[in-house]
Structure formats: structure tokens, C-alpha cells
């Protein structure tokens, strides 16, 4: 296998399962030319955000990572932390990757939760744990990348106000019956 050298364009193509190329911002090149954000700034913002969440009685479980590499929630899940992909194309990606909506009761680790504010998509997270009590979902933990800031493990509904609330649940799973 030959590894290609890095070139000057930070955008690398990302494809859905169907073969559709996921669009990326032409503007992305500007961040490359103008320099990436520093870790100090990402940490400052993350600390402030967590203080603000605490004031609003919202919990987070853990900060998983802080990175200066520019990727977002969509890029974390669908491009292995390699790209910034605008949230507006989330529905297209889910369709082209063969995801279908599932009910909260069907949710499993590895599934996806999307968020919306006033009906517009704002955020997406990866379900890491579903707690059940007497067959009912009692809690959902989600790992998600908060914009330019940290990757955070958090209870599903404990998110910044600008994310709105969980709107839909998605899975690409097909049922497996032990033969």
C-alpha cells in the first residue's frame, strides 16, 4: 500500500455506503491557510461551557478528548474524526448510509441520536450506553463532539441550549437471530 503525502488541501473525500460523496465546505481551506485553533483556547471554551452547564443543573459524564484538529459531531461519527461536515447534510448521510428511524425503546449502544432546535437539525451524537429498568429506557449516554470544542460523554438530554433537544433516533442494524 502506498500512502499519499499530505497536500495543501485539508479536505479529503468522504463517501457514504451508497458511494455518494459527502459534501464538504469549500471554506474549509481557509482554516488551513489561517492556522488551526490552539489547545489552550479549546480548553478555555470547554471549561466555560461546563461551568455554564453546571449553573443550569445539566450534567456531563466526562470529557473524552480535546483536539485542535477541526472536526465536528457529524465528522466524528461519519468520517472517523477526519472532517468538518455541515449538520445540514445529516439527513442525506443517514439515507445514503441506510439508516432508519428507531423508537427510543429500541435504542442500543452504537445507534445515533439527532438533535433539533425549532425543527432544524443542530447536532448528532453516538449512543454509548442505554440503561434499562424493568424493560423501560431509564437513561441514555451519548458521546458527541460539541462544535469546535471537546468530545463529551453526556446524558442524552444534557446539552447546550443551542442544540435544542433530541429529535430522532437512528440505526443501521438489522436484526440478528442466532442460528
Amino acid at each position: 500500500m502506498t500512502l499519499l503525502p499530505f497536500d495543501d488541501d485539508p479536505r479529503k473525500p468522504v463517501y457514504a455506503r451508497s458511494g455518494w460523496e459527502i459534501p464538504q465546505l469549500e471554506w474549509s481551506e481557509f482554516i488551513y491557510h489561517s492556522g488551526l485553533q490552539t489547545e489552550t483556547v479549546v480548553r478555555q471554551r470547554t471549561d466555560s461551557l461546563l461551568r455554564d452547564m453546571a449553573r443550569k443543573q445539566k450534567r456531563i459524564t466526562r470529557i473524552r478528548s480535546v483536539s485542535t484538529y477541526l472536526y465536528n459531531c457529524v465528522g466524528m461519527i461519519f468520517a472517523n474524526r477526519r472532517a468538518w461536515i455541515e449538520i445540514d447534510v445529516l439527513d442525506d448521510i443517514l439515507r445514503e448510509d441506510g439508516y432508519t428511524k428507531v423508537a427510543l425503546q429500541q435504542l442500543e449502544a452504537g445507534d445515533i441520536v439527532s438533535y433539533a432546535f425549532d425543527g432544524s437539525p443542530t447536532h448528532v451524537g453516538l449512543v454509548t450506553f442505554v440503561e434499562r429498568y424493568e424493560g423501560e429506557v431509564a437513561g441514555v449516554t451519548v458521546l458527541s463532539k460539541w462544535g469546535k470544542d471537546a468530545e463529551i460523554l453526556h446524558p442524552m438530554s444534557d446539552v447546550p441550549v443551542t442544540f435544542g433537544a433530541p429529535s430522532d433516533f437512528w440505526s443501521e442494524r438489522t436484526p440478528h437471530v442466532i442460528g
Partner: protein, 122 residues
């Protein structure tokens, strides 16, 4: 609230992190449109003489800060208000923003404004 107070609020970390967590340019524009502080500043730009120029001056001051990248969302908020009030002035501020490194949302908005201003002149 005075313009100076608005500037203080918009440059606070509490304000910044509401928007740095967003994952799309259109989400950012919607969030600015729904924000009370941004709305208050926008109203002043429409009502007070020289307020637009004060915002341009403030953008220029913030752009010279050594940790300018921390204020990306503040600059974008200023530019958003300016864009709604005075497109030619927003166009000038946008060109200045593009000369500065380390910014993300501000650059996206600046490019958007420049495109819009160019389309208007054609």
C-alpha cells in the same frame, strides 16, 4: 444597555460557548437570529447614529488581540449585526477579517457577506 455593555457580553466566554458548540453555518445564523444580546445590538445599529462605525472599530480592536481565535464567535456576532444594518460596511469589515488567522465562523460569514455584496453590485 449601552454599546460598551453589549461588547462586554458578546466578548464573554459565556456568550462565546453558546455558539462555538454549533456544527453548521446555517445553525449559527439561526442561533444568532434567536439570541437576545445579538438582537439588542442589532436594534441599536438600526437606531443610533455612528453605532455601526463603533462596531467596526470594535471588530478591528478584537482582531488585533493576541488570542483572537478565542473571539471568533464574538467577531461573527458583530459582523452578523453589521450585515443586517449596513452591507457596505459589513463588506469592508469582512475583508479585514479575511486577513486574520485562526478564525472559523467569522471567516465563513465574511465570505458569505462578500459574495452577497458582490452579487448586489452585479
Amino acid at each position: 444597555m449601552s454599546l460598551v455593555k453589549d461588547f462586554e457580553t458578546i466578548e464573554s466566554l459565556e456568550f462565546i460557548v453558546q455558539f462555538s458548540v454549533l456544527s453548521g453555518f446555517s445553525s449559527l445564523l439561526r442561533a444568532f437570529a434567536n439570541d437576545a444580546t445579538v438582537e439588542a445590538l442589532s436594534a441599536k445599529l438600526g437606531a443610533q447614529a455612528n453605532a455601526c462605525q463603533s462596531v467596526v472599530n470594535r471588530i478591528n480592536q478584537v482582531l488585533t488581540k493576541s488570542d483572537v481565535e478565542l473571539y471568533d464567535e464574538s467577531i461573527a456576532a458583530y459582523l452578523f449585526c453589521l450585515w443586517k444594518a449596513d452591507l457596505p460596511l459589513a463588506h469592508k469589515a469582512s475583508e479585514r477579517i479575511l486577513e486574520t488567522g485562526g478564525l472559523w465562523w467569522s471567516v465563513q460569514l465574511a465570505l458569505h457577506i462578500i459574495k452577497e455584496a458582490q452579487a448586489e453590485t452585479v
